[in-house]
Structures are given as structure tokens and as C-alpha cells.
């Protein structure tokens, strides 16, 4: 049984700038891993490289054992990427977006799945709406619905809660956990540390394109240099990224 997500020495450069450097990690089935880091750390570039949007400059990305560069069709068939910025076709309705996705990924039992998903994401009644008629949060939900309408074994979330209302946030959290319990490997990039702490079993911290920490909260807290962080993700994050002397002033 191949590991759902395997990243080996991934490097991605933009001209002279290295956005991701020598990044390696695995995500197992039924595992939710948080990808955190300051702005410009390389999180989105990593996720885009995993999704096949950006071609790695070097290194390897394997999705269920399929190389995203040499065997892109099989790799992409197994993954669902939900970006922070909802990219939708402005002339297709919500229902048509789902149908299009279902055709691309050969989804069986489309009608029942679509109905359930629309209810789950509170999109019922919006089936015939075009993206231009939806709020940003609704558009984000459509993107999530397109990602979830198929049984992807790998789920990549880039800031999944952006634009969602409190009810949407709660449901999204539950959805991510449910998908992981069903066996999906989930990689979540977010600045919301409490979300990561709540749903993730493991966390990868990136800074300036490199991985600077990787482990469960307990493992990170037990690391000698992080002992003072007291197993609180925010404190661990601040300590690892060299900002632990910054205390908030109220």
C-alpha cells in the first residue's frame, strides 16, 4: 500500500528566488497534517507543487505512489486541491461545476452525492447560481464541494476557512475530520493555529522555504529546544520561527 503523500527533496525556484528548498515529508492515510509558517514561508508553493499546478524545480512528489510530473493523470485522479482563492468558471452554475468535476473524475452516484454535499455545505437553492451571484464565502464552498464530491485519497487544503461564516467553519472542521477518518490523507495549510491544533495530529512548520519542525505536538514540545513552549502550538510556532520574545500588548 503506497504512502498517499510522499515529498522528497522538493525544491521550487522562481528565477533566482528559492520558494521551497529541500523539503521532504510523508502524510499517511487517515492522517491530518498541518502545514504552518509565516507569510512567504513556501506553504502555498508546496501545496501547488503537490497539486500539479507548479512543476518542481527538483525533487519528487508522489501521490499514492504516482509521480505528479511523470504520471500526472493518475496522481491527479487521486487528489483534491482546495485553494484559498476560489477559481471558478464565471459562466457555469454551481450545479454545473459539480457535474463537470464528476465527469472529470468519473464519479458514480452523482445526483445523490451532489444533493448531500450541497446540503452539507449549505448551498441548497444555489444550484443554478453563477459565481458572480455568490458571496466569496459561497464561492469558497463551491470549490470545497468540487473537491469533496469525489472520494479523493489525498486532500490538500490551502486556508480552507477563508471567507466561511462560523457555521461553515464548524462544518468544514467536521468534514475534514470525517474525510480523514474515512481514510484520506489530509494536508492543511493555515494561519489559524487553533484550527491546526484542534484537527491535526501532526504539524510541519516551514520558514523561508525550509522545513524547520515536523512532528506531533507532544513530540515538538518534548524537543529540548522547545521544552519551554509548554506544548502550546502558538508558543511552539513563535519559538521555532524566532519570535518568542514578542508578547502581545493589550
Amino acid at each position: 500500500m503506497p504512502i498517499p503523500i510522499r515529498v522528497e527533496q522538493l525544491r521550487r525556484r522562481f528565477g533566482a528566488f528559492t520558494a521551497v528548498d529541500d523539503l521532504s515529508f510523508d502524510v499517511s492515510a487517515a492522517e491530518i497534517v498541518g502545514l504552518i509558517g509565516p507569510n512567504g514561508a513556501g506553504k502555498t508553493t508546496t501545496l501547488r507543487s503537490l497539486a500539479g499546478i507548479l512543476r518542481p524545480t527538483s525533487g519528487q512528489v508522489l501521490i499514492d505512489g504516482h509521480d505528479i510530473v511523470s504520471d500526472p493523470i493518475e496522481a491527479k485522479r487521486r487528489l483534491a486541491f482546495m485553494p484559498d482563492e476560489p477559481h471558478l468558471f464565471e459562466y457555469l452554475t454551481v450545479d454545473e461545476h459539480l457535474r463537470l468535476t464528476a465527469r472529470l473524475y468519473s464519479v458514480n452516484d452523482f445526483d445523490n452525492r451532489a444533493k448531500a454535499l450541497l446540503e452539507e455545505l449549505e448551498l441548497t437553492g444555489k444550484q443554478r447560481s453563477l459565481p458572480g451571484e455568490l458571496s466569496r464565502g459561497m464561492r469558497q464552498k463551491v470549490v470545497i464541494a468540487c473537491g469533496l464530491i469525489r472520494d479523493a485519497s489525498v486532500l490538500l487544503f490551502d486556508e480552507p476557512l477563508t471567507g466561511l461564516d462560523p457555521i461553515g467553519i464548524r462544518r468544514m472542521r467536521a468534514t475534514i475530520i470525517a474525510r480523514a477518518r474515512a481514510g484520506a490523507a489530509v494536508l492543511v495549510s493555515s494561519h489559524l493555529l487553533h484550527l491546526v491544533e484542534e484537527i491535526c495530529s501532526r504539524v510541519i512548520i516551514m520558514d523561508r522555504g525550509r522545513k524547520i519542525a515536523d512532528g506531533t505536538f507532544a513530540e515538538l514540545a518534548m524537543r529540548a529546544d522547545l521544552a519551554a513552549a509548554d506544548s502550546n502550538l502558538e508558543q511552539i510556532f513563535m519559538h521555532v520561527t524566532g519570535h518568542d520574545d514578542e508578547t502581545p500588548h493589550v
Binding site: 501547488r48 500539479g52 499546478i53 507548479l54 512543476r55 471558478l88 464565471e90 457535474r99 465527469r103 458572480g132
Partner: protein, 579 residues
Amino acid sequence: MLIASLYIIVCSAKNRIRSRLRRLREPRYLVGAVAAVVYFYLTIFVRMRSPGGGRSRRTRQPPPEISLAALRAAGPSLVGLGLFVMMVLGWLFPGKSGLLEFTESEVQFLFPAPVTRRSLIIHRLLRSQLGLLFAAIVPALVFPSGSPASRAKFAVSMWIILVTMRVHFTGITLARASLLLRDADGRRRQWIAPAVIAGAVAVVATTIVRAFVLHPATDVGDFLNRFGEVVMSGAPRVILWPFVALARPLFAAWPGPFLSALALAIAVLALNVVWVLRSDDALQEITAQIEAQRDVPAVRSRVAPRTLAAGWTLSLHGRPELLFMWKSAMEMVRGVNAVSLLRWGGAAVGISVSLTSALLSATHSRGSAAALGLLALAIAGFATLLGPQIARNDLREDLLHLELLKTWPVRASALIRGEMLGPAAVLTGCAWLALLCALPLSAAAFTTRSLPMRVSVALALAILAPAIIVAQLTVHNAAAIVFPGWVPLGTQRPRGLDAMGQRLILFGGVIIALWIMLAPPAVAAGLVWFAFQGLLGPAVLVPAALVGTVLVGVEVLLATEALGPMYERIDLSAVERAD
């Protein structure tokens, strides 16, 4: 606020120039800039510096002096009448003024700031000046004139006209919106201004028509002389005065007449500015409407689509190419409306009518049947030869969605073919329909040709049309894949000298690639024609066209397979940078 506006304008201009200079470090932009500079040098400066400047053509073929003198005399009236017509159209078909299209950053920074609405309008007015100055200077450089002073005079006059019209259209937008805002009677009262305008149109039109219908002009000189007299007397003189005053500096002699004419034109501009500043109460309403239209991603400056049932539900199974065809059909059904139809339909009709005139003249045909037949033929030609430039709902538009497309588990070559399928089907349909109309009418237009010949030609054209269309689409899409940073994607229009040069190079490259692609099928078709002409007579055109089309099909298949790996390698940043 004035200082802040100037600060924004100066800093934006400085940074824009800096970023454009910086991108010249990339070879593709540097090559583009060099091409544009060479083009400008050859088309403008060499002509200006050649003996006699821009007058060389005039010395070769001098126009009749009387026409020039008459044109100069009637010029202000003619241009004034043109400006009047534009104003009338502005009232009758109201759009949103470009001056009020605040950028998102302007809305976020300036609207919550403690500044008046008038200051915001002045800011936009100031900000538009660089573009308007450029628009005035370029024709002045091209203007056939020997002296730099007359070029400067032309540029200043044009600039005043452009600024005034821009301000006036802003005033129209604001005035209409403020009438609606004031009270419940606004909707009724908004018709007062168009009614006054309609009255003015009636007076001017009646006077002109009466003058020329009763006593038709004998020649151009007579027309110009009498036109000036008609427009500059009686009621039309009063109605058209501000428009003629705006146009007069263009034709006035330097220095005295020009300066006095310029003073009057500036007075008209000032009146318009005052009117706009006094109609500022509807500014936020208008801006909110423009913002709402802009809220749809990637549809900026295009009409927002509407939900329409297209009668085609996507099947959940089948070839991926058909999926893209369905997507393209949805875009076409929902994206096309009266405005876009008017825009492209107008161009199609204009070019087709010109082609028809040329064909009528070449075939010495007369009569409505001949004219209609040739018009249908011209439309088929337009759809086949120019359609692929206009119907851009393929990769040229969809590269904007590259981030999404790249995540799809679809073979790149199938994706490329699928993207071309939609526009190809529509354009082929248009061409076939036009040919179907042209065939029964061809007897009137081509009287010397036999029926078998005409039928054979029509069939051959119908077979060749999809091949020519798909070949062009392949070249355009190949250009988008190989040079994603050079192709204007969607509604983008990259600016700058380097971008202009890139477009020139790309245009030349597309033409050359198309010739290379069509040459082997043309040779093969020619061989078939040569070999079987004696045996089949005019009907040989059909198998010849078939052979050519099949060969183009094979070439397209090979080309899309070859483009697949290139598509996989497209760097997202290359596409985003083109924005």
C-alpha cells in the same frame, strides 16, 4: 487632496516605468521593446525626417486645392457635428464613464478618507490626463505635417476635445444617476434631458436634410461649402456652437486665430467640469454599481454572464474533448448579449459589406440577389479567415484558469483539442450557414459560371472552412502555450512598448506558422486537382478539398500531441506575470 492625487499619479507613473524597465532584463520583453522601437522609428520618425516630411505623398498626388480649402472651412462644422452625434449617443445609450471606474485600491484608500466627492472626481480627472495626452500626441506624430508647431497645435486641440468628451460623458452618467436618486419622480424626469436632446437632433437633422434633399450637392466642394453655411446659420448654429467651438482649434491658423479658438474651447471644457462637479451626489451610487460589476473575477471590463438554460446537460461519461466543447457552449450562451453582439456583429457587418463591395466591383454584378449572395460569401470568408482571431474562448482565455485546469486529470493534448473544439464548431457553423445562403444566390453574382462549377466551389469551400479555422486556432493556441507571457489572455491588454512589440512579433509569427502549416495540404490538394481535373471536371475541387482538409486534420493532431508536454511545462508564474 490635490497633493495626494499628484503624489499617487507621480509615484504610480514612476513605478510603472521602473517595473517596465526592469522587465526588459528578460529577453522576451527586450526583444519586444526593440521590435516596437524599430516599428515606431520606421513608421513615424523616418517619415518625419524624410525630405518633405509627411508631405511626400501629397507632392506625388496633390489633391484639388478647392477641396482642401473647403475642407478647412467646413472642418469645424463637420467635427462639431460628429461630437454632437457622440453626445447624443451618450445620452441615448448610457454606459458607465471610464472616469468613474475607480480602481479597487482607490475605493479602499480614498472613499473612507475624509475627502469630498468633488475631490475624488478631480483625482480621477487628473489621473486620466496621462492616457489622454498619449492619445492626443500619437496622432499628432502621425499627422501629415511639416512643422513641429502644427503638430503641437494638433496635439493640444485633440487633447482639449478628448478631455471635454471624457468629462461630458462622466456628466451624463452622473446626471442620469442623480435624477434617479433625488425623488420618486426621478424616473419620469430623467427623460427630460433626452427629450431636449431629441428636439435638438430634430432641428439639426431637419435643417441639413432639407438643405441637401431639395438641392443635392453637385460635388464635394459644393457639399462642404454649403454644409458649413447650413450648420453655421439659424438654430443649428446655436445648438452646435459648443461642439464647433471645441473643434475650431484643430483648423485655426497659428497664432492669433488658434489662441482665440483655444480660449473658447477651454471655456467649453471648464463649463463641463463645473457641471460634473455639481452633479457629484450620485458618485457613490455609480461607483458601487461599477464595483458590483467588477466583483466577478476574470470578467473585468466584460459583460457579466447571466444564468440561461442552454438545453445541454453535460453527460457524466465521454471523451474529455466534449467536456470542453460543452464548457465553451455555456460560455457562449451566457456570455453573449446585445452589447457583445453589437460590438462583434458591427465589425462583422462592416468588413463583410466592404468585402461585398469589392466582390461586386470585381465581378461587375448588379442587383439585390447578387449583392446578397456576395454578402453571404463575404460573411463565410469573415467567419473562416477572421473568426479565429475574434473567438478567443479557447486556451487564450482559459489560461486564466490554468491553476484549476492543471489539477484536472486530463491528457494535455486532449485538453488543447477540447479547448479549440467550441470556437471551431461555432465558426464552422457560421461559415456553412453563410455558404448555404450564398449557393442559391450565386447564379446572380457569377453569371458566367456553370451550376456544377458553383456547386463544386461551394462544397469545396464548405470542406475547407473547418480546416482553415482549426489550423488558425491551433497556431493561436500554440502561441499561447509556447509564449504565455506574450499572448493577451482573456480581456487583458498588456501595455507598454515591449508588450506592443511582442504583439507585432506574435502577429508575424502566427502568419508565418499558418502559411507553413497550410502549405503541404495546399500542395497535396493542388496535385489532386492537377491529376484528376480532366477526369472529374469542376467536381475535382471536392476531392482536392477533402485531401487538404484531411492533411490539416493530421497536422492538428500531431501539433496538439507535440504541444501537450509544452502545456505541462507552462510555468504558472509566466502566465500571471502577463497580467
